[in-house]
């Protein structure tokens, strides 16, 4: 079914605009049209459907659930909920404090917060449609793996000692009594529809410009960077290309929506998968604006530890995938 978008893009770029498929502009424009039309179509249909299903899931429920459950399952659940809970990065501070003051260990809260920017339904949909299910699966497993491992590590080093004093106090004095059990209200279809509509408009308003920027960059790479450039220069063997990619990703601040079309293009150009993933995840998860925000609840030392932890794990994952997955 998705080949429809390829045909549409071929027709528009080559027949209507009269560009040649071999030309730089032709191939860039075709890429741009195909990806934007495909992404917008899928997002509109799928966000609506997913939102219908998940209308009754909210952050308060996730907190109650995580507070009640056993610690070891907790990291995985934290990371899992981080992936599926709708949540805007401007809420990370209140969510962090809400979890902490409910007595949820810092590690589990961080599993939630680390996974959250990396994986969400928009990212997964885009990956599925642009790079196929195999790479999507690898991406999701790495994202959750980094979240879970990061969380466990932070609890091992007793990261709560490095919180700001008021947050530490809230954690230590947490008494989470679930006496006010929120009645599991049954939503009518109408309410679900309203929720899904709001959610759809909300997400589209947030991501549409990222899609254009991301696909634009991807298209430029696709059209103008010579076919073998990446393979020749960053292809195989150079161990330093992965840490370089991770470092390059730090100052580039983007969300998953903007970076996935670039990722598609990099893979098509023969950049090894591990290097590509390391670069993209670093762009999405290791961003200064969000880290500075966390300063309100953490000390610099803890921020530094988490930041290094992310960079290190993306590098290791990059190397590992390059070793294991030779396209």
């Amino acid at each position: 079914m998705l080949s429809l978008f390829t045909q549409f893009a071929d027709w528009l770029a080559y027949s209507i605009f009269g560009l040649s498929p071999e030309s730089k502009w032709g191939s860039a424009l075709q890429f741009f049209i195909e990806d934007t039309s495909k992404i917008f179509f899928l997002l509109i249909v799928m966000i609506y459907i997913i939102a219908l299903i998940r209308a009754s899931l909210n952050i308060e429920r996730v907190r109650d659930y995580l507070a009640k459950n056993n610690k070891f399952v907790g990291y995985i659940l934290g990371s899992f909920f981080g992936a599926i809970t709708p949540f805007c990065s401007c809420s990370s501070i209140p969510v962090f404090l809400g979890f902490t003051s409910a007595g949820i260990p810092i590690g589990i809260t961080m599993s939630f917060l680390l996974t959250s920017p990396l994986i969400n339904e928009v990212a997964v949909l885009m990956l599925l449609s642009l790079v196929g299910w195999e790479i999507t699966l690898i991406y999701v497993l790495i994202g959750m793996g980094v979240g879970v491992a990061g969380g466990i590590f932070l609890d091992l080093i007793r990261a709560e000692q490095l919180l700001q004093p008021f947050a530490l106090k809230a954690y230590q004095t947490a008494d989470f009594s679930s006496d006010e059990q929120p009645a599991s209200e049954k939503l009518t279809f109408r309410e679900r529809h309203e929720f899904a509509k709001t959610e759809l408009l909300d997400i589209l308003a947030r991501v549409w410009k990222w899609i254009f920027v991301g696909v634009g960059l991807g298209a430029a790479l696709h059209g103008f960077v010579p076919e073998s450039w990446f393979a020749d220069n960053l292809g195989n063997g150079q161990w330093w290309s992965v840490p370089m990619a991770v470092l390059a990703g730090i100052p580039l601040y983007s969300n998953a929506t903007g970076v996935i079309p670039v990722m598609e293009s990099l893979i098509l150009k023969g950049l090894p998968l591990g290097t590509t993933l390391a670069f993209c995840m670093s762009t999405v998860a290791a961003s200064f604006p969000e880290f500075i925000m966390l300063k309100q609840v953490m000390t610099w030392k803890l921020l530094g530890i988490i930041f290094s932890l992310l960079l290190l794990s993306f590098t290791l994952v990059g190397w590992l995938i390059n070793l294991l997955y030779v396209v």
């Binding site: 909210n58 952050i59 949540f87 401007c90 809420s91 501070i93 209140p94 404090l97 809400g98 008021f166």
Partner: protein
């Protein structure tokens, strides 16, 4: 006079919420005070996890979205 607090870490939705309350209050001719509260410790006190949150005279009445005009009007009565 009613005292509103808009809780949020400074995202656009919180700014819009504060403006909306002010403009509807002005329409209804009700005098209000609207403060934007960005201190995370205070947000924690209200147990707010999704912003923007709205309090009236220190009672939490709303959280998680920009409140609808109807809802704001009902607070002003």
């Amino acid at each position: 006079m009613k005292k509103f607090e808009v809780l949020g870490t400074g995202c656009t939705k919180c700014v819009k919420t504060a403006e909306l309350i002010k403009s509807i209050a002005a329409e209804c001719g009700v005098e209000v005070q609207v403060i934007k509260e960005t201190n995370p410790e205070i947000m924690m006190g209200y147990q707010v996890m999704s912003t923007p949150g709205v309090t009236i005279d220190k009672h939490l009445v709303h959280s998680g979205s920009i409140p609808s005009k109807g809802k704001i009007a009902s607070w002003l009565k």
